[in-house]
Amino acid sequence: MSSLKKIAATLLCIILIVIVLATIFVPAPYAQQFRELPNAGPLTAHPLGTDALGRDSLSRLLYGTRVSLLLAPAAALLSTLIAALLGSAAGFVGGWFERIVLVATDLSLALPWLFLLLTVRALLPLDVPPVVSVTVAFLMMGLLGWQASVRVICAAARGVRDSDYLLLARSSGCKPARLLLRHVAPNLRSLFYAQFWISIPLFILTEANLSILGLGVMEPMPSWGNLMRGFEDFSTVAANPWKLAPLVLLVIVVMCFQLVLPSEEVTQ
C-alpha cells in the first residue's frame, strides 16, 4: 500500500469516526434555529457560524456528512448486490440470458444517468418528509446504478465458467444455484469489493448534484448537496470562506475514495 493510499485511508477513518460520534461534537441539533443569530460568522458557540435561518453550520455539516457518507455506501452496496447477482448469473449461465443482460446494460449505459434519475424522481411525489426523501434519493441511486459493474462482473464470471474446479463441482452433482453461490461468487469477491468502492464516490457526487437542484434530500435534513445550495450566492461565500467547508470536505472525501480504490487491473 503506497503512502498516499495510507494517508487517504486514515483520513477516511478519522472522518467516519467523527461522523459516528457527531452527536457528542455538535453544538446544537441541526434543525434548531437561533433566530437572533442569522448568517453569523464563526463564534465560540458556533465555530462555523450560522446559516440564513440561524441554524448552526457545524452541526448541519456533521449531520450532512453523516447522511451522505453513510447512505452512499448503502446505495453502493445495493447496486453492487444487484450487479453481482445479474453479472455472475449472466456470465455463469451464458447464452440468451447473458445476451439480454448485456444488451440491457449497454442500453442503460448509453443513457445519460441524470436524465434517468430525474425521470424516476419525477414519478414520485416531491412534497415528501425529509427522511423519505433521503431514502428515495439513495434507493433510486442504488437501484439504477448497477450497469457499469455488471459488464465487468459478467466478463469475470464468464472466465470462471469454464474453469477446471467448476467442471469438477458440476461432475460431482452440484446444482447451478450452489455452483453460483459457493464456487463462482467467492472467486469474484475481490471484483465485488472493487465495484463497491468505485460506486461510493459516484453516488456521493450524484446526491450532491440532485440536492443542489432541489431533487435530492429535502430540507431541513442536511446533506452535502443541500448545504452547497447556498453557493449560488457566491459573493456571500467569498466574504465568508468558512461556508465552503461542505465543498472542501466533499472534495477531500471523494479524492480519498479515489486514492484508496483498487488498482486498474481489478476494476477494468
Binding site: L109, A110, P112, L114, F115, L118, I212, E232, V251, V254
Partner: protein
Amino acid sequence: MPLPAMSKVTKYEKAVRLLRYVSRRLLALVCLGIGGALLSASLVRFAPGYGVQERELDPRWSAQSVEALRKNQPLQEGLPSFYFQYISALARGDLGQSDSLKRPVRELLRQRLPVTGNSVIRGLGLAWLIAGLLASLRLGPRQSFYEVSGTAFSSLLLSLPSAVVAMLAVQLRTPVFCAISVVVFPRLHRYIRSLLMRSYDQPHVLAARARGLRTGAIFLRHVLPVAAPPLLALLGVSFAIAFGAAIPIEALCDSPGLGQLAWHAALNRDLPLIVNLTLAVSLVMLAANSLADIAGRAFAGNTQ
C-alpha cells in the same frame, strides 16, 4: 497470382460483415425505440396522479361536475387503446403536451435541442482536445512530477460535482460549453491516457522505438491506429456524459437548453415532458453510440 484475388474476397467479406452489423444495429435501434416508447407510455399511464386535474380539487365544482370532468379523462379509455394512441402519436412525431408549460413537447424539443447540442459539441470538442493533448504529451517521459500533478489535477476535477462547476461558471461568467468541458475532461483524460499507454507499451511500438522512429511518427502510425477503436467507442460514451452534465449546468447557468427543460419538468412533475424528453435524448445517445461503434468496427476492419 492468387493473392490479390484473396485480398479482394476478404475485403468483400469484410464489407458484407460490416453491412450485416450495421443492419443489426439499425434493427436493434428500431426495437429499442419501440420498447422505449412502450416504457414511456407505461410510465406516464401508471404514475401516481395520472389523469387527475387540479380543477377536481376546486371546492366550487359540484359533485356532478367533478364526475363529468372525470368521465372526460383519458383514464376512462381502455389500456390497449391508450397504448395504441400513444405509440401512433409518437410515430407521427407527436410527443404530447407539456403539463406545466402548456406547449407541445415536440416544439419545446425543436427549440431547445440546438442550444444543448451546440454546448455539448463545443464542450466535447474542447475536452477531447485538452485530454488528448495532455494524455499524448505524458506518454513519452513518464516522470513522476507529470504523473503526480496530472493525476492530482484530474482527481480534483473528478471530485467536483457538476452543479458546483456550474455555479463557478456563473460566477466567472464562463460559457456553458466550458463548464461542460470541465466536467467531461477528467473522465476522458483518464481513459484516453490509459488506452494510449496500453498501446504505447505494445511490443511493436517498442521495436519501432528501438529502430529510431520519431515519437510523432510512432504515435501517428503505431499507437493511434491500435487505440482508435476503443477511442471511437469512448466518443459515443462521452456524449452521454456531456448530456448528463448539461442538466445541472444549464439549470444553474440559466441556459435555455434540454438540461434546463428536464430540470423544470422534474421539479413540476411534468411526466409527459420528462418521459418523452428522456426517450428522445436516449434515442439520440443510442444513435451516437451505434455510429461510434460502427466507425470503430470499420476502422478496426481496415487496419487488420
